[in-house]
Protein backbone atom coordinates (compact mmCIF):
# COMPACT_ATOMS: atom_id res chain seq x y z
CA UNK A 1 0.00 0.00 0.00
CA UNK A 2 1.30 3.45 -0.94
CA UNK A 3 1.73 6.10 1.74
CA UNK A 4 -0.39 8.56 -0.24
CA UNK A 5 -2.96 7.14 -2.64
CA UNK A 6 -4.97 9.47 -4.87
CA UNK A 7 -7.63 7.78 -7.00
CA UNK A 8 -9.84 9.33 -9.64
CA UNK A 9 -9.58 12.78 -8.01
CA UNK A 10 -11.91 15.40 -9.37
CA UNK A 11 -12.12 18.95 -8.06
CA UNK A 12 -13.78 22.26 -8.76
CA UNK A 13 -13.75 25.49 -6.82
CA UNK A 14 -17.44 26.34 -6.85
CA UNK A 15 -20.59 24.45 -7.68
CA UNK A 16 -21.48 24.95 -11.32
CA UNK A 17 -17.87 25.64 -12.34
CA UNK A 18 -16.05 23.17 -14.53
CA UNK A 19 -13.74 20.52 -13.07
CA UNK A 20 -10.17 21.67 -12.53
CA UNK A 21 -9.17 18.06 -11.91
CA UNK A 22 -10.78 15.38 -14.09
CA UNK A 23 -9.90 12.07 -12.48
CA UNK A 24 -6.30 12.05 -11.34
CA UNK A 25 -4.51 8.95 -10.04
CA UNK A 26 -1.27 9.54 -8.15
CA UNK A 27 0.54 7.40 -5.63
CA UNK A 28 3.47 8.27 -3.42
CA UNK A 29 5.52 5.58 -1.68
CA UNK A 30 7.16 6.08 1.70
CA UNK A 31 10.50 7.88 1.38
CA UNK A 32 9.98 8.99 -2.22
CA UNK A 33 10.12 12.38 -3.86
CA UNK A 34 7.34 12.52 -6.43
CA UNK A 35 7.04 15.50 -8.77
CA UNK A 36 3.83 16.83 -10.29
CA UNK A 37 4.74 18.71 -13.46
CA UNK A 38 2.82 20.64 -16.05
CA UNK A 39 1.93 24.02 -17.40
CA UNK A 40 0.00 26.73 -15.57
CA UNK A 41 -3.57 25.64 -14.97
CA UNK A 42 -2.79 21.92 -15.32
CA UNK A 43 -4.13 21.27 -11.81
CA UNK A 44 -0.90 20.71 -9.90
CA UNK A 45 -1.52 23.14 -7.04
CA UNK A 46 -5.21 22.15 -6.93
CA UNK A 47 -4.12 18.55 -6.34
CA UNK A 48 -2.07 19.65 -3.32
CA UNK A 49 -4.89 21.86 -2.07
CA UNK A 50 -7.33 18.96 -2.42
CA UNK A 51 -5.02 16.74 -0.35
CA UNK A 52 -4.96 19.41 2.37
CA UNK A 53 -8.74 19.73 2.35
CA UNK A 54 -8.78 23.25 0.91
CA UNK A 55 -10.90 22.52 -2.17
CA UNK A 56 -14.62 22.43 -1.36
CA UNK A 57 -15.96 20.29 -4.20
CA UNK A 58 -13.96 17.13 -4.65
CA UNK A 59 -14.64 13.58 -5.82
CA UNK A 60 -12.71 10.32 -5.91
CA UNK A 61 -10.53 9.43 -2.96
CA UNK A 62 -7.35 10.43 -1.19
CA UNK A 63 -5.86 8.15 1.46
CA UNK A 64 -2.86 8.69 3.70
CA UNK A 65 -1.58 5.41 5.08
CA UNK A 66 -4.97 3.90 4.26
CA UNK A 67 -6.90 6.61 6.13
CA UNK A 68 -9.36 8.54 3.91
CA UNK A 69 -8.73 12.29 4.00
CA UNK A 70 -12.04 13.44 2.51
CA UNK A 71 -14.43 14.66 5.16
CA UNK A 72 -11.61 15.55 7.54
CA UNK A 73 -11.04 19.21 8.27
CA UNK A 74 -7.86 20.99 7.18
CA UNK A 75 -6.45 20.94 10.71
CA UNK A 76 -7.27 17.23 11.16
CA UNK A 77 -5.45 16.43 7.92
CA UNK A 78 -2.38 18.25 9.24
CA UNK A 79 -2.59 16.20 12.42
CA UNK A 80 -2.71 13.01 10.33
CA UNK A 81 0.71 13.94 8.92
CA UNK A 82 0.29 16.19 5.88
CA UNK A 83 2.39 19.37 5.90
CA UNK A 84 1.69 21.80 3.07
CA UNK A 85 4.20 24.47 2.02
CA UNK A 86 2.00 26.48 -0.33
CA UNK A 87 2.87 28.54 -3.34
CA UNK A 88 4.06 32.00 -2.30
CA UNK A 89 5.52 30.60 0.95
CA UNK A 90 2.92 32.38 3.10
CA UNK A 91 5.36 33.16 5.91
CA UNK A 92 3.59 35.24 8.58
CA UNK A 93 4.93 38.75 7.96
CA UNK A 94 4.52 40.05 11.49
CA UNK A 95 6.20 37.13 13.24
CA UNK A 96 9.92 36.43 13.51
CA UNK A 97 11.68 33.61 11.66
CA UNK A 98 11.94 31.56 14.87
CA UNK A 99 8.25 32.12 15.69
CA UNK A 100 7.19 31.19 12.17
CA UNK A 101 9.16 27.95 12.34
CA UNK A 102 7.92 27.20 15.86
CA UNK A 103 4.29 27.46 14.76
CA UNK A 104 4.93 24.64 12.30
CA UNK A 105 4.59 22.29 15.27
CA UNK A 106 1.04 23.47 16.03
CA UNK A 107 -0.34 20.09 14.96
CA UNK A 108 1.64 18.26 17.63
CA UNK A 109 -0.32 18.23 20.85
CA UNK A 110 1.51 17.96 24.14
CA UNK A 111 4.73 19.45 22.80
CA UNK A 112 6.12 21.94 25.35
CA UNK A 113 7.52 25.31 24.36
CA UNK A 114 11.06 24.33 25.46
CA UNK A 115 10.97 21.18 23.34
CA UNK A 116 9.55 23.21 20.47
CA UNK A 117 12.39 25.73 20.67
CA UNK A 118 14.95 22.88 20.78
CA UNK A 119 13.48 21.56 17.53
CA UNK A 120 13.55 25.06 16.04
CA UNK A 121 17.29 25.12 16.80
CA UNK A 122 17.63 21.78 14.99
CA UNK A 123 15.96 23.30 11.93
CA UNK A 124 18.52 26.09 11.97
CA UNK A 125 21.20 23.37 11.54
CA UNK A 126 19.48 22.34 8.30
CA UNK A 127 19.12 25.99 7.23
CA UNK A 128 22.28 27.69 8.54
CA UNK A 129 21.58 30.81 6.45
CA UNK A 130 18.59 31.50 8.68
CA UNK A 131 20.53 31.53 11.97
CA UNK A 132 21.43 35.22 11.74
CA UNK A 133 17.80 35.99 10.79
CA UNK A 134 16.32 34.22 13.79
CA UNK A 135 14.67 37.39 15.14
CA UNK A 136 13.96 39.04 11.78
CA UNK A 137 10.30 39.62 10.94
CA UNK A 138 8.81 37.68 8.03
CA UNK A 139 8.18 40.73 5.86
CA UNK A 140 11.87 41.66 5.84
CA UNK A 141 13.02 38.39 4.20
CA UNK A 142 14.03 37.76 0.59
CA UNK A 143 12.29 35.14 -1.58
CA UNK A 144 14.93 32.48 -0.93
CA UNK A 145 14.90 33.12 2.80
CA UNK A 146 11.11 32.96 2.85
CA UNK A 147 11.21 29.62 1.04
CA UNK A 148 13.65 28.21 3.59
CA UNK A 149 11.50 29.42 6.48
CA UNK A 150 8.42 27.91 4.86
CA UNK A 151 10.13 24.53 4.39
CA UNK A 152 11.59 24.59 7.91
CA UNK A 153 8.12 25.39 9.25
CA UNK A 154 6.64 22.50 7.28
CA UNK A 155 9.23 20.11 8.71
CA UNK A 156 8.37 21.15 12.28
CA UNK A 157 5.11 19.23 11.83
CA UNK A 158 7.15 16.00 11.51
CA UNK A 159 4.99 15.18 8.51
CA UNK A 160 4.50 11.78 6.94
CA UNK A 161 4.32 13.60 3.63
CA UNK A 162 5.52 17.12 2.82
CA UNK A 163 3.64 18.91 0.04
CA UNK A 164 5.87 21.49 -1.65
CA UNK A 165 4.17 23.87 -4.06
CA UNK A 166 6.45 25.63 -6.57
CA UNK A 167 9.46 26.05 -4.28
CA UNK A 168 11.55 27.54 -7.12
CA UNK A 169 9.02 30.20 -8.09
CA UNK A 170 10.59 33.65 -8.33
CA UNK A 171 13.99 32.55 -7.06
CA UNK A 172 17.40 33.16 -8.66
CA UNK A 173 18.98 30.01 -10.21
CA UNK A 174 21.61 29.79 -7.51
CA UNK A 175 18.99 29.93 -4.76
CA UNK A 176 16.87 27.34 -6.62
CA UNK A 177 19.84 24.94 -6.54
CA UNK A 178 20.23 25.60 -2.82
CA UNK A 179 16.52 24.95 -2.16
CA UNK A 180 16.55 21.69 -4.09
CA UNK A 181 19.69 20.52 -2.29
CA UNK A 182 17.66 20.95 0.88
CA UNK A 183 14.72 19.03 -0.63
CA UNK A 184 17.08 16.13 -1.39
CA UNK A 185 18.47 16.33 2.14
CA UNK A 186 14.94 16.28 3.60
CA UNK A 187 14.25 13.02 1.74
CA UNK A 188 17.60 11.61 2.85
CA UNK A 189 16.45 12.23 6.42
CA UNK A 190 13.35 10.14 5.76
CA UNK A 191 10.56 12.59 4.84
CA UNK A 192 8.36 11.75 1.86
CA UNK A 193 7.86 14.69 -0.52
CA UNK A 194 5.18 15.45 -3.09
CA UNK A 195 6.55 18.29 -5.14
CA UNK A 196 4.75 20.59 -7.56
CA UNK A 197 7.01 22.39 -10.01
CA UNK A 198 6.95 24.15 -13.32
CA UNK A 199 10.73 23.94 -13.49
CA UNK A 200 10.89 20.32 -14.65
CA UNK A 201 14.67 20.28 -14.91
CA UNK A 202 15.27 20.90 -11.24
CA UNK A 203 12.26 18.87 -10.07
CA UNK A 204 13.27 15.74 -11.97
CA UNK A 205 16.86 16.12 -10.82
CA UNK A 206 15.72 15.18 -7.29
CA UNK A 207 12.50 13.21 -7.92
CA UNK A 208 12.17 9.42 -7.96
CA UNK A 209 9.07 9.59 -10.14
CA UNK A 210 7.06 12.25 -11.89
CA UNK A 211 3.56 12.84 -13.19
CA UNK A 212 2.92 15.26 -16.04
CA UNK A 213 -0.49 16.89 -15.79
CA UNK A 214 -2.42 18.50 -18.59
CA UNK A 215 -5.72 20.34 -18.06
CA UNK A 216 -6.69 18.31 -15.03
CA UNK A 217 -5.54 14.88 -16.25
CA UNK A 218 -2.39 12.84 -15.87
CA UNK A 219 -0.82 12.81 -19.32
CA UNK A 220 2.07 10.53 -18.49
CA UNK A 221 3.94 9.28 -15.45
CA UNK A 222 7.13 7.42 -14.72
CA UNK A 223 10.73 7.70 -13.67
CA UNK A 224 12.55 10.90 -14.71
CA UNK A 225 14.58 9.10 -17.38
CA UNK A 226 11.37 7.67 -18.93
CA UNK A 227 9.70 11.08 -18.92
CA UNK A 228 12.69 12.62 -20.68
CA UNK A 229 12.45 9.96 -23.37
CA UNK A 230 8.93 10.92 -24.36
CA UNK A 231 9.47 13.51 -27.14
CA UNK A 232 5.94 14.90 -26.89
CA UNK A 233 6.30 15.45 -23.18
CA UNK A 234 9.76 16.92 -23.55
CA UNK A 235 8.60 19.34 -26.18
CA UNK A 236 5.40 20.43 -24.54
CA UNK A 237 6.02 20.30 -20.81
CA UNK A 238 9.62 19.79 -19.93
CA UNK A 239 11.16 22.61 -21.88
CA UNK A 240 12.30 20.39 -24.75
CA UNK A 241 15.71 19.57 -23.35
CA UNK A 242 17.09 17.05 -20.92
CA UNK A 243 18.84 17.65 -17.62
CA UNK A 244 22.40 18.75 -18.07
Amino acid sequence: MSLLEIENLTARYSSGAGDVLKGIDVSVEEGEIVALLGANGAGKSTTLRAISGLVPHVGGSIKLGGVPLFGQGVEAIVRLGVAHVPEGRRVFPGLTVAENIMLGASNRTGLGRAEMMREVDEKFELFPDLVRLRDALGWTLSGGQLQMVAVARGLMAKPRVLLLDEPSLGLAPLIVQQVFKIVAEIRRRGTTVLLVEQNANVALSVADRGYVLETGRVLVSGKPEDLWKDPQVRAAYLGGHAIA
Partner: protein, 291 residues
Amino acid sequence: MAIFLQLLFTGLGIGAIYALVALGFVLLIRAASVVNFAQGQFAMVGAYMLVVCLNVLGLPYLLSMAISVVLMAVFGVIFAGATYWPLRHRGGLPVIISTIGASIFLENIVLFLYGPSPEVLPGLFDSPGIQVGQVFMDSQYLSILVAATLLVVLQYFIFEKTLLGKKLQATSQDKEMASLLGIPVAAMILFTFSYSAMLGGIAGMLVAPVLFVSVGMGGLIALKAFAANIIGGYGSIPGAILGGLALGVAETMGAAYISVPYKDAFAFAMLLMFLAVRPQGLFGEKISEKA
Protein backbone atom coordinates in the same frame (compact mmCIF):
# COMPACT_ATOMS: atom_id res chain seq x y z
CA MET B 1 -1.67 74.68 34.84
CA ALA B 2 -3.58 72.93 37.63
CA ILE B 3 -6.75 72.99 35.56
CA PHE B 4 -4.91 71.68 32.53
CA LEU B 5 -3.47 68.78 34.53
CA GLN B 6 -6.88 68.08 36.05
CA LEU B 7 -8.45 67.98 32.59
CA LEU B 8 -5.62 65.83 31.30
CA PHE B 9 -6.27 63.29 34.04
CA THR B 10 -10.02 63.23 33.35
CA GLY B 11 -9.41 63.07 29.59
CA LEU B 12 -7.06 60.14 29.96
CA GLY B 13 -9.66 58.35 32.11
CA ILE B 14 -12.37 58.75 29.47
CA GLY B 15 -9.83 58.04 26.75
CA ALA B 16 -8.92 54.75 28.44
CA ILE B 17 -12.54 53.64 28.04
CA TYR B 18 -12.44 54.48 24.34
CA ALA B 19 -9.10 52.69 24.10
CA LEU B 20 -10.49 49.49 25.65
CA VAL B 21 -13.47 49.43 23.30
CA ALA B 22 -11.20 50.34 20.36
CA LEU B 23 -8.90 47.46 21.30
CA GLY B 24 -11.89 45.12 21.05
CA PHE B 25 -12.59 46.53 17.59
CA VAL B 26 -9.00 46.06 16.45
CA LEU B 27 -8.67 42.51 17.73
CA LEU B 28 -11.73 41.41 15.78
CA ILE B 29 -10.65 43.28 12.67
CA ARG B 30 -7.30 41.50 12.83
CA ALA B 31 -8.48 38.03 13.80
CA ALA B 32 -11.71 37.71 11.86
CA SER B 33 -11.65 40.70 9.45
CA VAL B 34 -14.87 41.81 11.12
CA VAL B 35 -15.85 45.37 12.02
CA ASN B 36 -18.09 44.67 14.96
CA PHE B 37 -20.67 47.43 15.21
CA ALA B 38 -22.00 45.92 18.42
CA GLN B 39 -18.72 46.60 20.22
CA GLY B 40 -20.33 49.51 22.09
CA GLN B 41 -23.26 47.32 23.07
CA PHE B 42 -20.74 44.96 24.69
CA ALA B 43 -20.01 47.86 27.06
CA MET B 44 -23.72 48.36 27.66
CA VAL B 45 -24.35 44.64 28.32
CA GLY B 46 -21.34 44.52 30.66
CA ALA B 47 -22.63 47.50 32.61
CA TYR B 48 -26.10 45.94 32.94
CA MET B 49 -24.58 42.64 34.08
CA LEU B 50 -22.85 44.60 36.84
CA VAL B 51 -26.17 46.29 37.67
CA VAL B 52 -27.84 42.87 38.03
CA CYS B 53 -25.04 41.38 40.16
CA LEU B 54 -24.67 44.47 42.34
CA ASN B 55 -28.09 46.05 42.62
CA VAL B 56 -30.38 43.04 42.11
CA LEU B 57 -28.40 40.12 43.56
CA GLY B 58 -26.60 42.28 46.15
CA LEU B 59 -23.22 40.65 45.57
CA PRO B 60 -19.97 42.37 46.63
CA TYR B 61 -18.50 44.78 44.07
CA LEU B 62 -15.37 42.85 43.06
CA LEU B 63 -17.24 39.53 42.92
CA SER B 64 -19.93 41.20 40.80
CA MET B 65 -17.26 42.46 38.41
CA ALA B 66 -15.56 39.07 38.25
CA ILE B 67 -18.87 37.30 37.51
CA SER B 68 -19.76 39.91 34.90
CA VAL B 69 -16.38 39.54 33.19
CA VAL B 70 -16.78 35.76 32.99
CA LEU B 71 -20.35 36.16 31.70
CA MET B 72 -19.10 38.63 29.08
CA ALA B 73 -16.51 36.10 27.93
CA VAL B 74 -19.27 33.52 27.46
CA PHE B 75 -21.48 36.15 25.85
CA GLY B 76 -18.71 36.86 23.31
CA VAL B 77 -18.72 33.23 22.18
CA ILE B 78 -22.53 33.20 21.89
CA PHE B 79 -22.38 36.48 19.97
CA ALA B 80 -19.81 34.99 17.56
CA GLY B 81 -21.98 31.91 17.11
CA ALA B 82 -24.98 34.04 16.22
CA THR B 83 -23.50 36.85 14.13
CA TYR B 84 -20.23 35.65 12.66
CA TRP B 85 -20.23 31.89 12.39
CA PRO B 86 -23.15 31.31 10.01
CA LEU B 87 -21.83 34.05 7.66
CA ARG B 88 -18.07 33.53 7.94
CA HIS B 89 -17.66 32.29 4.36
CA ARG B 90 -19.72 35.10 2.83
CA GLY B 91 -17.24 37.96 3.06
CA GLY B 92 -17.05 40.94 5.38
CA LEU B 93 -20.20 42.90 4.54
CA PRO B 94 -22.85 40.34 5.63
CA VAL B 95 -21.09 39.96 8.98
CA ILE B 96 -20.96 43.75 9.43
CA ILE B 97 -24.70 43.98 8.72
CA SER B 98 -25.23 41.10 11.12
CA THR B 99 -23.37 42.94 13.92
CA ILE B 100 -25.43 46.08 13.25
CA GLY B 101 -28.56 43.93 13.60
CA ALA B 102 -27.17 42.40 16.78
CA SER B 103 -26.49 45.85 18.25
CA ILE B 104 -30.13 46.86 17.68
CA PHE B 105 -31.33 43.54 19.06
CA LEU B 106 -29.18 43.87 22.20
CA GLU B 107 -30.39 47.39 22.91
CA ASN B 108 -34.00 46.35 22.52
CA ILE B 109 -33.72 43.19 24.59
CA VAL B 110 -32.18 45.23 27.44
CA LEU B 111 -34.87 47.89 26.95
CA PHE B 112 -37.50 45.15 27.21
CA LEU B 113 -35.94 43.70 30.36
CA TYR B 114 -34.93 46.92 32.13
CA GLY B 115 -37.00 49.70 30.64
CA PRO B 116 -35.77 53.12 29.52
CA SER B 117 -34.89 54.52 32.97
CA PRO B 118 -31.14 54.80 33.48
CA GLU B 119 -29.56 52.86 36.31
CA VAL B 120 -27.07 54.32 38.76
CA LEU B 121 -24.05 52.39 39.93
CA PRO B 122 -21.80 53.31 42.86
CA GLY B 123 -18.06 53.64 42.35
CA LEU B 124 -15.66 50.80 43.10
CA PHE B 125 -14.24 52.66 46.10
CA ASP B 126 -16.00 54.56 48.89
CA SER B 127 -13.28 57.22 48.93
CA PRO B 128 -13.94 60.01 46.43
CA GLY B 129 -10.28 60.11 45.42
CA ILE B 130 -6.82 61.36 46.27
CA GLN B 131 -5.10 64.70 45.90
CA VAL B 132 -1.76 64.53 44.11
CA GLY B 133 -0.21 67.98 43.98
CA GLN B 134 -2.70 70.24 42.29
CA VAL B 135 -4.65 67.39 40.71
CA PHE B 136 -7.56 65.66 42.39
CA MET B 137 -7.60 62.09 41.18
CA ASP B 138 -11.16 60.81 41.26
CA SER B 139 -11.11 57.22 42.47
CA GLN B 140 -13.27 55.93 39.58
CA TYR B 141 -11.13 57.62 36.93
CA LEU B 142 -8.08 56.27 38.72
CA SER B 143 -9.64 52.76 38.68
CA ILE B 144 -10.29 53.14 34.96
CA LEU B 145 -6.69 54.12 34.26
CA VAL B 146 -5.22 51.37 36.44
CA ALA B 147 -7.55 48.70 35.00
CA ALA B 148 -6.90 49.83 31.43
CA THR B 149 -3.14 49.79 31.99
CA LEU B 150 -3.30 46.31 33.50
CA LEU B 151 -5.42 45.05 30.60
CA VAL B 152 -3.01 46.49 28.03
CA VAL B 153 -0.06 44.87 29.83
CA LEU B 154 -1.97 41.57 30.04
CA GLN B 155 -2.79 41.77 26.38
CA TYR B 156 0.83 42.50 25.48
CA PHE B 157 1.89 39.49 27.56
CA ILE B 158 -0.67 37.17 25.95
CA PHE B 159 0.05 38.28 22.38
CA GLU B 160 3.81 38.64 22.55
CA LYS B 161 4.97 36.16 25.15
CA THR B 162 2.73 33.12 24.86
CA LEU B 163 2.28 30.42 22.24
CA LEU B 164 -1.45 31.18 22.26
CA GLY B 165 -0.63 34.79 21.38
CA LYS B 166 1.58 33.72 18.49
CA LYS B 167 -1.20 31.48 17.20
CA LEU B 168 -3.66 34.36 17.50
CA GLN B 169 -1.28 36.61 15.57
CA ALA B 170 -0.76 33.94 12.91
CA THR B 171 -4.53 33.56 12.57
CA SER B 172 -4.96 37.29 12.17
CA GLN B 173 -2.21 37.48 9.51
CA ASP B 174 -3.20 34.50 7.33
CA LYS B 175 -6.09 32.29 8.39
CA GLU B 176 -5.67 29.66 5.68
CA MET B 177 -1.96 29.27 6.37
CA ALA B 178 -2.60 29.07 10.10
CA SER B 179 -5.09 26.32 9.40
CA LEU B 180 -2.51 24.50 7.23
CA LEU B 181 -0.20 24.44 10.25
CA GLY B 182 -2.86 22.79 12.38
CA ILE B 183 -3.71 25.95 14.35
CA PRO B 184 -7.38 25.66 15.37
CA VAL B 185 -8.47 28.81 13.55
CA ALA B 186 -12.13 28.59 14.63
CA ALA B 187 -11.10 28.37 18.29
CA MET B 188 -8.72 31.32 17.85
CA ILE B 189 -11.50 33.44 16.36
CA LEU B 190 -13.98 32.44 19.07
CA PHE B 191 -11.36 33.27 21.69
CA THR B 192 -10.91 36.71 20.10
CA PHE B 193 -14.66 37.36 20.14
CA SER B 194 -14.76 36.27 23.77
CA TYR B 195 -11.80 38.46 24.74
CA SER B 196 -13.17 41.37 22.77
CA ALA B 197 -16.55 41.10 24.51
CA MET B 198 -14.73 40.96 27.82
CA LEU B 199 -12.79 44.14 27.02
CA GLY B 200 -15.97 45.92 25.96
CA GLY B 201 -17.79 44.67 29.05
CA ILE B 202 -15.01 45.82 31.39
CA ALA B 203 -15.04 49.25 29.72
CA GLY B 204 -18.80 49.44 30.35
CA MET B 205 -18.43 48.35 33.96
CA LEU B 206 -15.66 50.89 34.60
CA VAL B 207 -17.49 53.79 33.00
CA ALA B 208 -20.85 52.90 34.54
CA PRO B 209 -20.33 54.81 37.81
CA VAL B 210 -19.21 57.91 35.84
CA LEU B 211 -22.15 57.88 33.42
CA PHE B 212 -25.64 56.58 33.91
CA VAL B 213 -26.16 53.00 32.81
CA SER B 214 -28.60 53.23 29.95
CA VAL B 215 -29.63 51.28 26.89
CA GLY B 216 -28.08 53.86 24.57
CA MET B 217 -24.75 54.22 26.39
CA GLY B 218 -22.93 51.87 24.02
CA GLY B 219 -23.69 53.68 20.79
CA LEU B 220 -21.71 56.84 21.46
CA ILE B 221 -18.85 54.95 23.12
CA ALA B 222 -18.60 52.71 20.04
CA LEU B 223 -18.58 55.67 17.67
CA LYS B 224 -15.81 57.33 19.64
CA ALA B 225 -13.87 54.08 19.88
CA PHE B 226 -14.21 53.56 16.13
CA ALA B 227 -12.95 57.11 15.59
CA ALA B 228 -10.04 56.30 17.94
CA ASN B 229 -9.33 53.27 15.78
CA ILE B 230 -9.12 55.42 12.64
CA ILE B 231 -7.06 58.11 14.39
CA GLY B 232 -4.63 55.54 15.77
CA GLY B 233 -4.38 53.64 12.51
CA TYR B 234 -6.99 51.14 11.32
CA GLY B 235 -6.20 47.73 12.78
CA SER B 236 -3.25 48.92 14.87
CA ILE B 237 -3.15 47.84 18.53
CA PRO B 238 -0.89 50.68 19.77
CA GLY B 239 -2.93 52.98 17.54
CA ALA B 240 -6.18 51.97 19.27
CA ILE B 241 -4.70 52.73 22.67
CA LEU B 242 -3.13 56.04 21.69
CA GLY B 243 -6.10 57.05 19.52
CA GLY B 244 -8.50 56.38 22.39
CA LEU B 245 -6.43 58.38 24.87
CA ALA B 246 -5.94 61.26 22.41
CA LEU B 247 -9.66 61.38 21.70
CA GLY B 248 -10.55 61.41 25.41
CA VAL B 249 -8.10 64.22 26.11
CA ALA B 250 -9.18 66.23 23.03
CA GLU B 251 -12.87 66.14 23.88
CA THR B 252 -12.28 66.91 27.56
CA MET B 253 -10.02 69.85 26.75
CA GLY B 254 -12.38 71.04 24.01
CA ALA B 255 -15.34 70.89 26.34
CA ALA B 256 -13.51 72.78 29.09
CA TYR B 257 -11.79 75.46 27.03
CA ILE B 258 -14.18 75.97 24.13
CA SER B 259 -17.71 74.62 24.54
CA VAL B 260 -19.36 71.94 26.65
CA PRO B 261 -22.35 71.34 24.34
CA TYR B 262 -19.95 70.65 21.45
CA LYS B 263 -17.96 68.10 23.46
CA ASP B 264 -18.75 65.22 21.11
CA ALA B 265 -18.07 67.38 18.07
CA PHE B 266 -14.40 67.76 19.05
CA ALA B 267 -13.87 64.01 18.86
CA PHE B 268 -15.41 63.79 15.41
CA ALA B 269 -13.66 66.96 14.22
CA MET B 270 -10.42 65.26 15.16
CA LEU B 271 -11.51 62.20 13.16
CA LEU B 272 -12.32 64.35 10.11
CA MET B 273 -9.00 66.11 10.41
CA PHE B 274 -7.13 62.81 10.42
CA LEU B 275 -9.15 61.47 7.49
CA ALA B 276 -8.24 64.57 5.49
CA VAL B 277 -4.59 64.95 6.49
CA ARG B 278 -3.35 61.51 7.58
CA PRO B 279 -5.96 58.89 6.65
CA GLN B 280 -3.66 56.01 7.65
CA GLY B 281 -3.76 57.32 11.22
CA LEU B 282 -0.90 57.54 13.70
CA PHE B 283 0.37 53.97 13.37
CA GLY B 284 -1.35 52.77 10.23
CA GLU B 285 0.16 51.89 6.90
CA LYS B 286 -1.08 53.05 3.56
CA ILE B 287 -3.10 50.17 2.21
CA SER B 288 -3.87 49.54 -1.44
CA GLU B 289 -6.38 47.03 -2.76
CA LYS B 290 -4.90 43.69 -3.77
CA ALA B 291 -5.09 43.01 -7.48
